[in-house]
């Protein structure tokens, strides 16, 4: 009997993912064998795992290696995104420990789940086959459903988990249907082969099956990145989920969604660019406007940041619509700086809360700037960056996203983006007004600042200010990672 020929496997391509998965599984086992008082160490072990993975990734920069018969690739684009995922996972883990202790749900499973979610995101970023992307998305989503409902004694967290699960499963259906139609139209699920099939056979926008596949896949990805009109789940899930997980969910999975979205649209379907860029134009305008206008009315700061994260997805879609090198580099740069500023802002929100009541109304921040001057300044830096005011990184990112749109001829899109960005300044500044110009209404105790929190905030401040002041190096990296 002859042996079956095994297709070329290049384990080096998925080595970082393998390491992270093994660390996650080891943590899962350690978790059930140690006493509950020692579970704080799990967080540090998971950060060690993340650092190890980072060290494996960084030397691979500049190379482009394929594996598993072309279903997975490790190129600059993937590595750039993977670094964003790992940074956001590590920063979220730094602020998780004390939060769980305060809320009384100190279960060690949260660390393996974060790591598994990160593995899923990494697979999404390096998948060059629709199936690999889908697999990564499922690994990510299933972990996230659990993470959203992790605080199981809290009814809102339960609601968040269930809502995310139901809507997420539904949107996955859309994505899968789109992939099936694309396969039907081109006969392959490999991203490069889809593009070459379309180019060779002259399949164009007249092929309804392909266009329908593109639209359905876009729907699925738009749901994952919380773009309007598929954003309805976001505020409830972000508000109900444990705050460190909200920080993680608003950065990592969003970046992963954009990474996979970019690879599918820019590499597999460049032939449909007129179609998808007009689709994304509408999505971008809707997302920015809905996100910003709804955020204006929010009293709860977690909900406000949820709507603001919708608006930020809209800014990124502007760079996407442009579809050129400047716009795509802008997406990469923006995702990186967004990770720092958003997780930093959520870290401050955790510090202001206490068990059960999270003090998450904007009015709870009255007098915060005077009681805690350093934390107040840090919060201001994050909010300025979110609003896109120089010298923070958020400004440079937006600048590149919008200039990409202008270069591609979408002047009106850039104008709407800038107007939206101006409107968003209102609700970010409102928090600062409460922090510095209002007297505190009542005395409430603050969470103790632990070294882990300080480290997370320090990384976040550096990550916002350094790319903002010296954008050259980071932009160069982003330009090298662009998919074209």
């Amino acid at each position: 009997m002859d042996t079956i020929a095994i297709p070329a496997i290049n384990l080096a391509v998925i080595a970082p993912e393998v390491v992270l998965s093994v660390v996650a599984m080891a943590l899962l086992l350690i978790n059930v064998f140690v006493k509950s008082e020692q579970k704080g160490y799990l967080g540090y072990l998971s950060i060690a795992g993340i650092l190890g993975t980072l060290l494996m990734l960084i030397p691979a920069w500049g190379s482009s290696v394929e594996g598993f018969s072309g279903t997975i690739i490790q190129d600059n684009f993937a590595i750039f995104f993977k670094v964003i995922f790992l940074i956001s996972a590590a920063m979220s883990i730094l602020i998780t420990d004390k939060y769980l202790e305060r809320e009384g749900c100190n279960q060690g499973e949260i660390y393996p789940l974060i790591l598994f979610a990160t593995v899923g995101m990494m697979l999404m970023a390096s998948g060059t086959d629709l199936m690999t992307i889908f697999l990564g998305l499922e690994v990510l989503s299933v972990s996230l459903y659990v993470l959203a409902g992790f605080n199981r004694n809290n009814i809102k967290s339960n609601e968040a988990g269930l809502k995310y699960f139901l809507l997420g499963a539904f949107s996955t259906g859309f994505l899968l249907y789109g992939m099936a139609l694309t396969y039907g139209a081109t006969g392959t699920t490999k991203i490069a082969k889809i593009a070459s099939y379309i180019a060779m056979n002259g399949v164009s926008s007249s092929n309804l099956m392909l266009v329908a596949g593109m639209i359905l896949m876009s729907t699925g990805f738009a749901f994952k990145v919380a773009a309007a009109p598929f954003h309805m789940w976001t505020p409830d899930v972000y508000e109900g989920a444990p705050t460190p997980m909200t920080a993680f969910m608003s950065v990592g999975p969003k970046a992963a969604g954009f990474a996979a979205f970019a690879r599918v649209l820019l590499v597999a379907l460049p032939a449909l660019k007129p179609e998808w860029s007009s689709l994304l134009w509408v999505l971008a305008v809707l997302t920015m406007t809905v996100g910003n206008i709804t955020a204006l009315y929010q009293q709860n700061i977690k909900r406000m940041l949820a709507y603001s994260s919708i608006a930020h997805a809209g800014y990124i879609l502007v760079g996407f619509t442009a579809g050129n090198a400047v716009g795509t580099a802008g997406i990469l740069f923006y995702m990186l700086s967004y990770a720092f500023m958003n997780i930093g802002a959520f870290a401050i929100i955790i510090l202001v809360g206490k068990k059960g009541e999270e003090n998450s109304n904007v009015s709870d921040y009255a007098g915060f700037g005077y009681r805690h001057p350093v934390l107040g300044i840090a919060f201001c830096i994050f909010l300025f960056s979110l609003a896109g005011i120089p010298p923070a990184a958020g400004f440079i990112g937006k600048f590149y996203l919008f200039s990409g749109a202008i270069q591609a001829g979408y002047i009106w899109l850039a104008v709407i983006g800038v107007l939206n960005s101006a409107a968003s300044v209102y609700y970010y500044l409102r928090v600062m007004v409460f922090m510095y110009f209002k007297e505190p209404t009542e005395d409430f105790e603050w969470v103790k600042l632990t070294p882990a929190f300080v480290l997370c905030l320090l990384i976040a401040v550096i990550g916002v200010l350094v790319p903002g002041v010296l954008p050259g190096l980071f932009l160069e990296l982003a330009q090298k990672a662009v998919l074209m």
């Binding site: 009997m1 002859d2 042996t3 079956i4 095994i6 599984m25 899962l28 086992l29 059930v32």
Partner: protein, 118 residues
């Protein structure tokens, strides 16, 4: 193209007609001698005990979920067993990795007490 599916469509039509037809005709021309015993819900031939809408433990769901997980493991083991010789060392290594991952989950649920009924 469509001709190839004709036998299947015919089979489906006959199946539907036979199923519906026997129900309709037996209700039209069948004799109905109803009695209290005949109208009882059927419970394996025994006398019905209690309501059919009982609450049962959530543990059943947990067990069902775990069962599906490890059932899938068996599903994957069968094709491997069939092609065991042809897959060679590669197959053993792949299945080893697969089983190892499932084994981690098994230890986890065991230590967590998911397999204990009380």
């Amino acid at each position: 193209m469509a001709g190839a599916y004709l036998p299947i469509i015919l089979l489906l039509a006959i199946a539907v007609c036979f199923g519906l037809g026997s129900l309709v005709f037996s209700s039209l021309i069948g004799q109905k001698k109803l009695s209290a015993v005949k109208l009882q819900p059927y419970e394996c031939g025994c006398e019905p005990v209690g309501s059919a809408q009982e609450r049962f433990s959530i543990k059943f769901y947990l067990i069902a979920m775990l069962f599906i997980l490890f059932d899938i493991e068996c599903v994957f083991l069968y094709p491997w067993a069939v092609l065991f010789k042809r897959l060679g060392v590669f197959g053993i290594m792949e299945m080893g990795a697969f089983m190892l991952i499932l084994f981690v989950g098994y230890i986890y649920i065991w230590k967590k007490g998911a397999l204990e009924w009380e």
